[in-house]
Structure formats: C-alpha cells, structure tokens
C-alpha cells in the first residue's frame, strides 16, 4: 500500500542556502544589523556629531516607548484586549508621582510609589471592569467603548484634580554632561539608563522567571497554557501589575526627559506605543521592547531631516506602514488568518 509519507512532516527538496540562512537567523539580529546600518548611513550623510547626538537622544526615548509598549502588548497577548486606556495609565502614574513629590518625597522614591499605585489600579480595574466583560464574552466594539470610556475617566479625573495646564516636573533640567562632541542632560542620561536597564530587566524577567514564562505561554495560546496547568487567573493579575507599573514608569521617564507634562500626554503618545507594539508583533513582549527602541531612534533620527514638529508623525507613519506591509510585525508568528 502506498503510504503518503513523503508528503507528511518535512517537505520534499532541501531549501537553497540563502533561504536557510534567512530562516536560521533570528529577527532580532536582522533588526540590530539594520539599525546599525542606518546609523552608519546617517553618519555618512550628516556627520558623526549630528548622527551621534540624534542616536543618543533616540536612546533616551527608547526607554519610555519600550516600557509603555510592553504593557500594551502583554495585555493584548494575554487578554486579547486592545487597551485604549493604556496611555492614560501613563498619565495617571506620572501625576500620582508628581503629587507625592509635592509632599516632599524625593523623585525616584515617589516614582516607585506612582508605579505601585498604578499597578494596583490596573488590578482593580480588571476586577471591576475587565473580568466581568471577559465572562460575558463581549464583542470588540463593546471592549473598545469601555476602554475609551475608561481612558476619558482617567484622563479627565486627573485633569479635574490637577488642572489642564502644562506643569513642570520640578527636576534639574539644565545641567548636562559632555562626551566629546555630544551632550546629554544629566536628567536625560538618568532616564536613558533607567529605561535601558528596565528594558533588560523586563526581558530577563520574561525569559527566566517562571512568571515570565507563564505570561508568554498564556499570550501565545491560552487554552494550551491552561491545559499545562498554568494558573491563568494569576497570570492575568500579574500581567496587569506589570502593565500598570511599567506604564507608570514609562510616563515618569517621559516626563523627566521632556521636563513638562499635561494631562493629555499619555493619550498623545499612545499611538506611538501602538506603533512600537505592532512593529514588534503585537502580543510579543520582546517585540514591544525592540519596537520601542526602533520608534525612539526613528523619531530622533527624523529630526535630522524634518522639523521636530513632525516627530510624532513618524511614529504614526511607521504604524501605518507596518499595518499595511507587515501586520504581523517583525517578531510576529504566522497565523492562519490575520
């Protein structure tokens, strides 16, 4: 009897060398190479001073874009929820932090408080709003409406108490350091270091801790995760904690690096966060971290050629291009239907 074994499992011919190389090299390597190449090209075009400065500035932004995007993508991955209120969690966390500093507490400890409060808020909201809706299996439309409503409530509650005016963060924004031809504000240097360190910590946590593995497993395939004994409810709570905490930190870093904020800033950068998350493959936390770096660098690099007014538009353009050309993102997995 003729068994169809040749058709099962692996394919017929061995793939040619070039595509094997393509398949074996991880996307992160391609991304890193591409970024370095672009950096070199920029150096050639505008000179090392300008290119290097823009890159430094970009790395400052990379921190808050990446950390903001991670929360967004994790919530989507684990809960299949596009959380339009995420940007306003950045706002909330930042204003709480500022409120605590007004009581005389130094900045970074206040930031820690802000992160904790936001994380707790995230869990509370899940308990009160998202969990009942999950049980009722609501439609995308309803979820969107609730998320939008929540965004409005968060943003305008902050505005109600804190006023709509632009506020300064109250930190030392004037002193700066010089590295050869390049300079960076000390505050911005702090932001960059904290941001990059947190990115690495988050990545490590996702990869090596049990919780991180569980979150990735649930984001990948919740049914399978449950079958293998993962307590999905605990994972969901952990996801909200991480999302809320990192959102607050992202907002704080943003505020510290720019120096001023207003109650709309979280919503304003939400699209850039979406851009980072979609670019990295939505649902993929490592992808969001990488996507944030790309967005941060791209925005600053764009100022070498365009007026700084157009910086946010770069994020939107990347988002649209990604959606149209590469909706799965750089690190996304193949799915049967998009």
């Amino acid at each position: 009897m003729r068994r169809s074994d040749s058709s099962l499992g692996r394919g017929g011919d061995a793939p040619p060398f070039a595509s094997a190389l393509w398949r074996r090299t991880p996307p992160i390597a391609w991304l890193a190479i591409a970024l370095v190449l672009i950096g070199l090209m920029l150096t050639a075009v505008v000179g090392p001073t300008a290119a290097g400065q823009a890159t430094l500035n970009g790395l400052v932004g990379a921190g808050y874009f990446a950390l903001g995007a991670v929360g967004l993508t994790l919530v989507y991955g684990v809960l299949r929820l596009v959380n339009f209120a995420h940007g306003d969690m950045l706002t909330f966390g930042t204003y709480v932090t500022l409120g605590v500093t007004a009581l005389g507490v130094p900045f970074w400890p206040s930031a820690a408080v802000g992160m904790i409060v936001t994380a707790l808020l995230a869990i509370l909201l899940d308990r009160v709003i998202w969990e009942p809706m999950r049980r009722a299996r609501t439609s995308t439309l309803q979820l969107f409406l609730v998320a939008t409503g929540l965004a409005l409530v968060l943003r305008y509650s902050v505005q109600f108490f804190a006023g709509s005016q632009v506020r300064t963060v109250g930190l030392d924004t004037t002193s700066s350091l010089n590295f050869g031809p390049w300079h960076l504000g000390t505050l911005q240097l702090d932001v960059m270091l904290v941001g990059l360190a947190t990115i690495l910590l988050t990545g490590a946590g996702l990869r090596y801790t049990r919780l991180g593995k569980e979150m990735r497993a649930v984001a990948d395939n919740i049914a399978l995760a449950e079958v293998t004994g993962i307590d999905t409810r605990r994972t969901i709570r952990a996801t909200w904690l991480v999302a809320g905490g990192l959102a607050a930190l992202a907002g704080i870093l943003y505020a510290a690096s720019i120096g001023t904020i207003n109650p709309n800033f979280g919503f304003t950068i939400l699209l850039s966060l979406f851009a980072a998350a979609v670019l990295g493959g939505i649902g993929n936390a490592y992808g969001a971290l990488a996507g944030g770096v790309v967005i941060g660098l791209s925005q600053e690099w764009s100022t070498l050629f365009f007026n700084t007014r157009w910086k946010p538009a770069i994020g939107f353009a990347i988002l649209i291009l990604t959606l149209l050309l590469m909706p799965r993102g750089i690190f996304g997995r193949k799915k049967a239907r998009l």
Binding site: Q142, L154, S157
Partner: protein, 307 residues
C-alpha cells in the same frame, strides 16, 4: 439662559447628529470600527475653507467639491486598511486621523495653529436673508436660528437617505456583512467593495458635519478635529442605540443637553473643573452603558443577543 443659547446647543447636537449618522452606518450597519471619522470631518472642513479662502471659490461650489475630496480620502484609507482585522483597522483609522490633524497643525498651507478664517461670508449673507424671511413669520431675532434650521433639515435629509439605503437590498448586504462577512463572501458578495462604500458614505457625512461645524464656530483650527470628537460621537451612538438611525438624533440631543445642562447645577467648581467633569461623565456613560446595556438606550436587545 436665552433661547439663542439653546439654539446653539441644538446646532452642536445637529452637527454631531450628521457626524454620527456616518458612524452608525459604519458601526451599526456594517460592523466597521471607524475611529477616524474626525479625520474625514477635518478634511472636508479644511478643503472647503481652503477652496474659499485660498482659491477664491464660492462656498456653494466648495462644499460639494470638499465632499468629493473627503470621499476620496475614505477610499484611499479604506483600500489598504479594510483588509485588516477589525481591531487593526480601528488603529489604522486613528493613525490616519492623527496624521490629518498633525498635518493641519504643522503644514504651512493649512494655516497651522492659526487656522483658517473668512470662508463664511456667503453663508452669513444667506443667514441674514433667512432671518429676514423668518422675521416675517415672527421668528426673527435669534441669530442661531437659520443655522439651526439648516443643520436639522440637512440631518433629516441624510436620515431619510440612509433609511432608504438601509431598507434596500444594498442595505441588506451590509447587514449580512456585519453579521458574518465570510458567509456573505461565500454567497458571492464582494465584501471589500461594500465596506469601502460604507466608509465613503461615512466620510461624506463627516465632511458635511464639518461644514456646519466650520460655519458655527466661524474659524477652523486643528484641534477641533481631534479624536475626542470621534469619542463623543461614539457616546452618542451608545446612548441612542446601535443600528437605529433615529436613535442618533435622540442620542445627540440627549448628550448635549446633559453636557450643557451641567452648567445650571451651579456646582462649586471652576469652569476648567466643570469641563473635566463633563468628560468624566461621558466616560462613565460609555463604560456603564457598554457593560450593562450594550444595545444602547434605544436599541433592541434581541438583536444584540442573537450575535
């Protein structure tokens, strides 16, 4: 408060009504989560304003042209993005709307933050003429009346048109697509084409709403057309019910009465705080209604349950 004040509220409600008719056809009848409606409105309004002030057109010619431009934008946006999954499509439409707003804000030809003024002279002449006619029947005096009448007349026409479309076989296909687009495709319906038509009509309605907004406020500036407008539109939808065009009118009037009515409560709050409170209220409305009564105040529960 004077009658003129409430007429002003009525004009705003009418503008939102036309705007939300477009959202209704997308969301309620085709199942498209269009979050970029404010972008189409901005394109329509700015196109009209620029044609009149920069190119010297008559406003009566600029309006139809601006509608066509908005429709073209709808097709341009829809063609690539309607193939995406619904939440990606929603994000793409927000991105589009933000790019539009950013462009108006930053590009020199659109006047930047200064905006555009001076396009409404012809309308004001017409409005004065209308007021004089109305004075003959004793209704003169309230300056907002002509605009109020025209807006709601227009709303009525659009409403009638949409109801006709809805009852037609074309509308039937749209509803099928909302229900189950794969099954509709399996019956030979070109789903993408229908979605594009739905989006184009919504863009046209947004443009018309934009005209009335422009005439009401008498000058165009970018932040008029930000996502908040779209979100408020969704609040109207939620209030009035999905899949009901008549509900749009009721929802709009209801929302704006509540919003403006807050002024009269004489709460011990500053105007800024009052403004914030209004939006917190809207947010709560969105959350509570979506969680507890998703079909809206006037929608039919049966339809929601059958999905």
């Amino acid at each position: 408060m004077s009658a003129d004040f409430w007429l002003g509220v009525g004009v705003t409600a009418g503008v939102y009504g036309i705007f939300v008719l477009g959202l209704q056809i997308n969301v309620g009848f085709t199942g498209l989560l269009n979050l970029g409606q404010a972008g189409f409105m901005g394109i329509g309004a700015y196109a009209m304003g620029m044609l009149v002030t920069n190119a010297g057109w008559s406003i009566w010619a600029a309006m139809p042209a601006a509608v066509l431009i908005a429709v073209a934008a709808g097709l341009l946006v829809g063609l690539p993005s309607l193939r995406l999954r619904s939440d990606y499509f929603a994000i793409a439409t927000i991105a589009f709307a933000e790019i539009v707003r950013d462009t108006f804000q930053n590009a020199a030809f659109a006047g930047g933050n200064q905006g555009i003024i001076g396009y409404d002279q012809e309308w004001r002449d017409t409005a004065s003429w209308l007021l004089r006619q109305l004075a003959h029947i004793g209704l003169g005096g309230d300056t907002q009346l002509p605009l109020f009448i025209v807006v709601w007349l227009c709303f009525g026409l659009c409403l009638a048109g949409l109801k006709f479309l809805q009852a037609s076989p074309w509308g039937r296909v749209l509803r099928a697509i909302r229900e189950d687009e794969d099954a509709a495709a399996a019956l030979g319906k070109n789903v993408l084409a229908y979605k594009l038509q739905s989006l184009a009509i919504a863009a046209a309605l947004a443009a018309v709403a934009g005209f009335f907004l422009a005439l009401n406020v008498t000058y165009l500036y970018p932040s008029e057309f930000d996502p908040t407008f779209t979100f408020l539109g969704y609040a109207v939808l939620v209030l009035g019910g999905f899949a009901s065009y008549g509900g749009v009118a009721i929802g709009s009037v209801l929302l704006w009465s509540v919003m403006e009515g807050l002024r009269f409560l004489h709460l011990p709050l500053s105007t800024g705080q009052l403004g914030s409170l209004r939006f917190v209220l809207i947010g709560l409305i969105l959350i509570l209604l979506s969680m507890l009564r998703p079909q809206g105040l006037l929608g039919r529960k049966a339809e929601m349950q059958l999905r």
